[in-house]
């Protein structure tokens, strides 16, 4: 496995199932027209992009990064400030917002290189708190402070409200598909194998010639770009963003989504985000009950299925038939690394050079 392939390696059945699932989701707004359900789905799908990006640094690279929501918010704010003040096309602003997320993420990763575990989480979390504080107390009018960002135009303002909803839905769906395929391909590439090796056996990986510094910076750049992209998408779809998007409650729910789905797996963020969002939507009138249920589910999943629902799923499928690609299961939940490091020794070194 040298270099990232354009598409992740999967067998025919899984490709077929994926294409059918994508086609069903793409057709959904043509058949169903309930605006409330569609808007909840679009919001959930933006969260999927965010959680997929976070999963890459937290799950695949195994860095205790709790600053991802700050990157998300900064992507949104960065794109918004460009939209209001730079007179660039909105598409460019969104991409520049994502690039800004990547830049900030790399800067945030630099001081974490000497730390590990819980120290990393506190440092990244402190960074996020400072960003939130700076935005909340910004008196210059650039970010709108605690009132939220001034309204920006939607991407599809010329269309009817129904059409806007559909266009947003398809846009985010396309982003999810591209994000998931690229992240899966990166996870299977030498970079991904190196990251997982450094996560599970840091000393061994380093002694085999992998540079933890370069790999971690690359992981944070990728994760930050997608996180910033999610923030910019949130901004143009909701037409605003506020500091509460990066608050402690939002972070707790996002972590829950990742763990329930399966940390470090490709499908985990999608499944976890969908399930928790459905629970939230069903219990929306009882905020206390809603999060209690989410907390209990989180506890049960971690204790009985540390690999998350994706881990359980592939276990079951693996027992029924043997067609599940074993790459998809979180390595943390299964075998430790010597095998993974062994396979990366050919492709892994070129990352370190």
């Amino acid at each position: 496995m040298t270099g990232p392939g354009l598409f992740p390696k999967m067998n025919g059945t899984r490709w077929g199932l994926s294409v059918v699932a994508i086609a069903l989701f793409a057709a959904f707004p043509l058949i169903y027209n309930g605006q409330y359900v569609l808007s909840v789905m679009v919001t959930t799908m933006v969260l999927i992009v965010l959680n997929a990006s976070w999963n890459f640094s937290l799950g695949v690279a195994g860095v205790w990064n709790f600053g991802q929501l700050a990157i998300y918010a900064l992507g949104g704010y960065g794109a918004g400030i460009l939209m209001l003040h730079a007179h660039l096309p909105q598409w460019i602003c969104i991409l520049l917002g994502a690039a800004f997320g990547a830049l900030v993420s790399v800067i945030m990763a630099l001081p974490t290189l000497r730390l590990f575990g819980i120290y990393t989480s506190l440092l990244t979390f402190a960074f996020a708190e400072i960003v939130q504080y700076a935005i909340l107390n910004d008196g210059s009018g650039l970010t709108g402070g605690s009132y939220g960002f001034p309204m920006v135009n939607g991407l599809f303002d010329s269309m009817s409200p129904d059409g806007q909803m559909r266009a947003n839905y398809w846009l985010v769906l396309a982003v999810i598909v591209i994000t998931t395929i690229s992240l899966a391909a990166i996870t299977q590439s030498s970079l991904g194998i190196g990251l997982r090796a450094a996560r599970d056996a840091p000393a061994y990986a380093a002694s085999r010639g992998l540079s933890p510094i370069k790999m971690r910076l690359a992981a944070f750049a990728i994760s930050g770009f997608l996180g910033g992209l999610a923030g910019a998408l949130y901004l143009v779809i909701e037409q605003s963003i506020s500091p509460s998007a990066m608050g402690l409650t939002a972070m707790s729910i996002d972590v829950t989504m990742l763990v329930i789905g399966g940390l470090g797996t490709n499908l985990g963020p999608i499944i976890g985000t969908a399930i928790v969002s459905i629970v939230q939507a069903l219990l929306v009138t009882h905020p206390g009950v809603e999060l209690t249920v989410v907390g209990i589910v989180l506890l049960v999943v971690v204790v009985f299925a540390p690999g998350g629902l994706v881990g359980v799923g592939s276990d079951l499928i693996g027992r029924v038939g043997s067609w599940v690609d074993e790459d998809d299961v979180a390595p943390a939940a299964t075998e430790p690394t010597p095998a993974a490091v062994g396979t990366s020794s050919t492709g892994g070194t070129d990352v370190a050079e």
Partner: protein
Amino acid sequence: MTNVVGILVTTIILGSIYGLVAIGMTLIYGALRILDMSQGSMVMIGGFVGWAILVSASWNPVLAILIAFAATFILGTLTELVSVQTLMNKRGGIDFEMVTFITTFAVAMILENVALEIFGPQQRNVTPVISGGINIYNGIYLPWQEVAMALVSIALMGGLGLFLARTRWGMAIRAVAQNLDAARLMGVPVNRLYPLTMGLASALAGVAGVFLGSLYFASPTAGDLPLLQALIVVIFGGLGSLAGTVWAAYLIGLIQATTQVLIGDTWALPILYAIILIVLIVRPQGLLGKPAEARL
């Protein structure tokens, strides 16, 4: 001069209460090697116990402290049984520190939202444990409430130190902290020791909660800020080092008091975070932490 006295008094009071909340986390990390995210909820529950005893039942404040101690001791023990003990036999195959971080976090989420369902989101005033106060210097007014808080905190921290140094169970906790396998081989009952440790730590946070509740409010989210502050103190002092935690608590109290008096209350927390960022970059293992523990 007025400023200096004000800063010193605030430092002692803030530092004592930070120390009381954070020392439980250090104790748990030292003995169990887990970071207990449910400690903030114990502070919150202590606040509600204080409210229930002092306001609803208008009983004796000493009773409030004792009941809060007992209630959070039991809850802490249960938390350990649910979120740590269930994972003990899987210890080899998983990232124990990360998984228990998540399970205790889930317990915190459950406790906080059960409290939200029972008590509702509003903030409740808790009557001071002791009313009145004293004018100490040039217009600096010191409520007895805060004096009592500092004294009780210092007494409890000292008591914990004695407990760890002198009693059989205390020595067992220290033995486990030093070497889990060796302690097991010497016959330390780890499966009973872990719940005891976590119950004890939670009870300290619960007592802190009674005082914090009457100082600020009792509300379902009242534990969030103390949890963050305790995390900062614990990491600043070096994870697992009790002496480091006490030093860090007063040092952070000093930083916060200085910021409050000289710059303003709203800047206290961000300046604290900025200092933590710098400390972690310069000295990743904290004040008294062991370097080998924090580096690869």
